[in-house]
């Protein structure tokens, strides 16, 4: 049984904002949103983001330098992430597909590398934007 993680004050504030957001949030946009709560410096945001990522509570969308809440496997360390990204409306969805995940997790590069983790980003147009 996995112990529910206790978050520090700043971590909780940052996570709340990311969870409430409809799409990926950028670090500085989070910062501007929490200045009323007494968080004033980028460091404070980035530190919280780092921890939340470590805990698997959020993910970074690398192609956008932005952060989304994990909707899939709460409280798991995320070593297998996949996202669909709409190039028009910027909507991002986390993809939870057991087959895909299994396929990629067991994929081994011929050149002898054993993988610990992967991140996959699909780009296209979402249903709405099509």
């Amino acid at each position: 049984m996995t112990q529910a993680q206790i978050l520090s004050r700043n971590q909780q504030i940052v996570l709340d904002i990311i969870e409430k957001a409809k799409g990926p949030l950028k670090a500085y946009s989070i910062l501007f949103n929490v200045q009323k709560k007494g968080i004033n410096a980028p460091q404070q945001i980035y530190r919280a983001l780092d921890k939340l990522i470590e805990m698997g509570k959020i993910h970074k969308i690398e192609s956008k330098n932005a952060f989304v809440a994990c909707r899939i496997s709460d409280c798991e360390i995320s070593n297998a992430t996949a996202f669909s990204i709409c190039e028009s409306c910027e909507k991002v969805d986390e993809i939870s597909d057991a087959k895909l995940s299994k396929y990629l997790s067991s994929f081994n590069h011929k050149k002898g590398m054993k993988f610990k983790r992967f991140n996959l980003e699909f780009f296209g147009l979402c249903k709405k934007c099509k």
Copy 2:
């Protein structure tokens, strides 16, 4: 038959450096390397990088904000990229695996998104670093 692309002066300079490099290069490291050739501003680098990416000559490693030459399908627009990244020595290899590529290219998100492009980054330890 695909017409061999003619590169502009700056594009060629930037591509040469990336092709000669053993690993991924960052934009500003490219800049410092070409100042002797009269390129002085980030813009000039980023413009060349953008075009080279469009042409499929290079790829961006999103998790590293760095650029590598395409060793796989020269002169093709790259809508299906996969890389293995060593977390210890930072070595990056482009993965060319027909099965993997086919599998991912035909993957469709249940929620109705049709993908145009994907980028996959695997992380682990390379043979040497293991």
